[in-house]
């Protein structure tokens, strides 16, 4: 046993950095809170190929039904067919440009959805191959490279532009993932819900930032999985937003809000999204932006550069 443990994190991807000790972060136009809507378009397949890592949250008993699971598969498909269009209508009304984690299966097999996102100037970001094939440390480095390359390539071919953002299926990673993402040109990653500001992820392969999402209030975790009544969820989201706008009088904060069209796009829930977006849009101080707008701004701030300088000195 060492007489004293090493200061800071037990890994090198990001530094220990209590939010109270950071320089002040300013958003454009004097905004207090950057808000990013992450609208997932992930495909849920009938059966992942042999050897794929199907996240434990997708297999019985969580999904409840043995193969072929008509209930779960068709319920997810609802988001692609109908739910997303309802959400687009609501977000369009308030001029919100969403950031869309889109997996390779969706990009390849649902070009109409790619078009609908591009028409709105929404940003597509990598989201793996499918939602039932996650990244895992059980993959070899080569397998992981192919996986990430396939995900990014599918988006590049479907949208004519390579993605610069990433959200893994179920936030899955190996210990190599950030470096491989940076190597493939990814500039920000939403997998780590551990902060209320972006921060630098240190990799030897490229300039990578974290865009942490507020996972607790997302539609699946905040409402669906926890079985909270909808009005309670709406209240939770509004309260998060209000508290963060207040707190951000001191320094700029980030609220990245995750939504799933198969869940929030249901006719019984869309009114809740209307309430939430209307609430956010009416209060001054919020900057509703896409992931890359936020990161492009952030990386030019002294805040980001300062943190990078501290990195160099702290070892």
């Amino acid at each position: 046993m060492p007489s004293q443990f090493k200061y800071g994190m037990d890994q090198d991807y990001w530094d220990w950095s209590p939010i109270v000790s950071r320089p002040v972060l300013h958003w454009p136009g004097g905004a207090r809170l950057a808000v990013c809507f992450l609208v997932d378009l992930g495909h849920y397949e009938w059966a992942p190929p042999p050897g794929a890592f199907d996240p434990p949250t997708h297999v019985p008993p969580h999904s409840l039904n043995p193969y072929p699971d008509y209930v779960t598969v068709t319920f997810r498909e609802y988001g692609h067919r109908i739910g997303i269009f309802r959400m687009m209508e609501v977000l369009d009304q308030h001029g919100v440009k969403a950031t869309v984690p889109m997996d390779a299966h969706t990009a390849e097999h649902y070009p109409e959805l790619v078009d609908a996102c591009i028409e709105r100037d929404w940003e597509l970001i990598g989201h793996g191959v499918t939602q039932r094939q996650a990244i895992t440390s059980l993959m070899s480095e080569e397998e992981e490279r192919i996986y990430i390359g396939t995900s990014i390539d599918a988006l590049r071919r479907a949208a004519g532009k390579a993605p610069v953002g990433w959200l893994g299926p179920e936030h899955s990673q190996s210990a190599r993932t950030p470096s491989i993402l940076a190597e493939f040109g990814i500039r920000y990653c939403c997998d780590f819900p551990n902060d209320e500001q972006p921060y630098r992820i240190k990799t030897p392969t490229g300039e990578l930032y974290a865009l942490p999402c507020m996972i607790e209030i997302g539609d699946t975790i905040g409402h669906y999985n926890r079985k909270l009544p909808l009005p309670r969820w709406v209240q939770m989201v509004k309260e998060t937003f209000d508290v963060m706008v207040d707190d951000a009088a001191q320094t700029g904060l980030l609220l990245a809000f995750r939504l799933h069209p198969w869940c929030t796009g249901q006719p019984c829930r869309i009114k809740s999204l209307e309430e939430i977006v209307a609430h956010m849009a009416q209060r001054p101080g919020a900057w509703l932006a896409t992931g890359s707008e936020i990161i492009d701004w952030y990386r030019r701030q002294p805040h980001a550069r300062g943190a990078a300088c501290e990195d160099a000195g702290s070892n």
Partner: protein, 319 residues
Amino acid sequence: MIPLHRRFDYLPWNDRPRIRWPQNARVAFWVVPNVEYYEYLPPAGGGPQQRGHDNPDFPAPNIPVFVRRDYGNRVGFWRMAKVLDKYRIRCTVNINLALLDHFPEERDAMVERGWDFCCHGMYNTRAAPKGMTPEQQRSFVRNCIALFKRATGKQLKGFNVLSRATEELPDILAEEGIVYHADYLHDDQPTPINVTRGKLVSIPYGGETNDSVMTSRNRPWELDTLFDMVRDAFDRLYAEGADNGTVLCLALHPWCSGYPYRIRDLERILDYVMSHDGVWQATADEIAEHYIAHHYDEAVAKIAQLKSAREQRSARRNS
């Protein structure tokens, strides 16, 4: 056999043909009491769903689960029927076919009301047709059709077996003359289901607007929450239905909604929906037949057009 991933084709909401319901209604509203028989000593192998939602690991007889289901038939059903009658609801009963023989009084009460029926398996405690060979599935489907005909004098038109559905089932259903398959939660409209022979359509079932989904499996909700959900869902589908007819399903269970403390909320739900003009309160048989007669071909043509556009686009990308 059509593989699972080709069972239905993509048809985005923003680009599909218009459905018009009879009398220019906006929403087709189908109400589905699940009238179920849970066996006292079910055979092994039913799977967790079939063994009962609340205490899946109780060895049979699983009294805490099954006796509550029995309450549904002895008491709850009759209380529910009174409320359904008040609004002249013509139900589509998700029926465990064995019940028609076990409980002829309940069968007659449903038949006399002119309700339609959708096959919900023989018993709710059996996994069939899951776990069967295609040949066994075919004879299972034939048995269901024959049993239903003997018990009611009617032709069986639909199947809803959800987690018990198999890969082959839709092909077999279409070949045996079944018209609709209600195991899909992927849409708010009927859609074609691809089958090897004949025609089969999906009628959207109530995956969420469902009393047991709201209240069983230790969920902390009650039917007042279901009322809110149905109201919000209806309002949205009603608004959208002005341009393109939609479907709202209300799935019910006598062992759930038939309790005294829930029945008034069920009444509020029916009262809300039925107080609107432009609601086509129909059975799944009627919705399916209307769709096949007026909209099926249009949907198939649109799907083919979208598919060919997708193929051209993919060819351009790869060239």
